[in-house]
């Protein structure tokens, strides 16, 4: 009897430990996500699209509030200046000055490239997913670029509308700064890799200021995002996340 009790105890202990590990993994992901995002964010990015034959650079201004709302204004190059994007929940609108029209991005365009980069429109819309749509598993700790990092596996929940088979993410142990994320298909082939680089203080936080997205199926295809300046948690006017602002933003 005693022996049996011991067994049940052990079982409970293991289950508890797993649950704890899971909770902990999710908590790490949540903190890393929060670190990059803030309650609100206002910043300027440079984006460089790299192809084997050419590369192209552009700049845009970015506003976001939580995971629900974001707004983008293209600043450079001249030909694309003034183009704006508004995202509210999982819907997205686009304004193009040259044709003076607001376009709602239809489902058929959600998976197309955003502004010619390796990001899709869908990547912008579905930022929140890393916490809600995945099961998180703690794989251990690993040294990456000289820093000790948590290694966490994210597996999409069965009903989640996610194309990935799994994501492996490395997050720096000391300050929850994400270092790297590998995206796999269900066969276990790596499809793309996200690298977080040039970690420094900006906008009052220690954050990566250079992100590189590598297309593993098309070697040489890469998109680099460089954060030029950023302010976190400063309230943003309500009027920013509106249709009117799509047309007015300069």
């Amino acid at each position: 009897m005693k022996w049996r009790c011991g067994f049940i105890w052990m079982l409970i202990f293991v289950v508890r430990a797993n649950a704890l590990a899971e909770d902990r993994a999710m908590e790490i992901i949540r903190r890393a996500d929060e670190l990059l995002r803030g309650k609100t964010q206002q910043g300027t990015y440079r984006m460089i699209v790299i192809r084997p034959e050419w590369q192209r650079s552009m700049r845009f201004k970015f506003w976001s509030e939580g995971t629900e709302k974001s707004f983008i204004l293209i600043l450079e190059p001249a030909k694309e200046k003034g183009i704006t994007f508004l995202k509210i929940n999982n819907e997205m609108w686009n304004y193009i000055p040259r044709i003076n029209r607001i376009i709602k991005i239809p489902p058929s365009m959600m998976l197309q490239s955003w502004m010619g980069s390796d990001f899709t429109n869908d990547d912008l819309v579905k930022e929140s997913n890393v916490v809600e749509d995945y099961e998180h598993r703690f794989l251990g700790e690993e040294k990456l670029d000289g820093d000790l990092a948590y290694k966490i596996e994210l597996t999409p929940k069965p009903e989640a509308a996610v194309v990935w088979g799994k994501i492996i993410e490395w997050i720096r142990k000391k300050d929850y700064v994400p270092l790297r994320a590998d995206y796999y298909n269900e066969r276990g082939e790596r499809i793309r890799t996200m690298l977080f680089k040039e970690i420094k203080r900006m906008g009052g936080r220690t954050i990566p200021t250079r992100m590189e997205l590598l297309n593993e199926k098309k070697p040489g295809n890469r998109t680099v995002l460089v954060l030029e300046n950023v302010v976190f948690d400063r309230p943003i006017r309500k009027s920013v996340f509106t249709m009117t602002f799509l047309k007015r933003a300069r």
Partner: protein
Amino acid sequence: MSKFLKIAWRNIWRNRRRSLITMGAIVFAILITGVTRSLQYGTYDALESYAVRLLVGELQLQNKGFHEHQTLTYSFPENLFPWDRLVDEYDFVEAYAKRITSYGLVGSASTSAGAMIIGIEPGRERRVTHFTTQLTAGETLDDADDHRILLGKSLAENLNVAPGDTVVVLTQGYRNELGADSYIVKGLIRSGNQELDRALMVMSLRDAQDLFSLYGRITQVVLATDDFRLAEKYARRMHIAMDGQELQVLPWQKLMPELLQLIALDNISGAIFLLFLLLIVGFEIMNTTLMAIMERIKEFGILQSLGVKPRQVSLMLLLETGMKIVIAVIVGLLLTFIFIQLTKDYPIPLSSELKEAMEAWGFFTDFYFTDKARVFLEPLVAISVIAVLSIIYPIWMASRLRPVDALRKGQL
């Protein structure tokens, strides 16, 4: 020998009616298979050349990789080669036109749809393809047009626009730039190809280069030649290279393999028809020949009892029927030729209802009899073979004839 020839010749005209009937069978067989083939090849040819010269053209010059990927990465400088020299250098090249083909989203006030966007040189394009001239409304593009477009009829219907209306276009450019612009609809195209009519959007090459940020570059050069059927041969003879960059020369057979398969299908149903036709006329030739000889058994009996050897009777019969076949084949071919010469300039009549319905969908309606060599050659071979086969048996029978039996029974 010449004596036999003379006898055979005389025999033919001795029973003129019988000879005319047997020869008539052959003449008719040649004529009707010839007309059938002329009709079949005429319609295939018309459909093929129409389909080839609708949009794709006979030959295309492309950068390697464009055919597979259809992206602007595989464009090339528009002055890579002095194109005017093509027409001088290759005697079979009759015209050329530069082109850009890509994809985008086109929107009207109410809705939007995906489109295949083609940038053309309007004047030159009309000399290599004819999709820009098949309009249901408005006018076609001119070389001077700026920000004017043609739309496929179904695409225009889906977008709910008509000539004079404005549409906007969103695309991704050569280096993934966002391309966006607005254009005025000038005309609507009805090509007869449903998929095309649902997707086609045509603008000037300049506008396309602007929209796709493809300055000084194009994706294809389309060529017209003197004979679309020889495109594969021509493609092998061409070599377009300049400054270390070589262009692929693709014949329409490679660009639209499904058309080749369609032709194969047409040939199958055509062949099934021909088979049944040959069955009927071939059998008739055999029957009349057989009968014509059988009715004369008594005559052969008399000849043999007069001392003519069976071998000689057979020889005489062979010469006689041989001459008949030759005469009939010549007459048959002549009649076929005359028939086709008389009809080939007039399109095959379609009922006016059908024609209207076909035109409403942009279907091709002008079918002609063709006078190409195969139309005469195929019946000539097929019918001659049948005719020769059909005389072997009766002549063999005649050679084995015993005079007594032949005289008594008058039949075999």
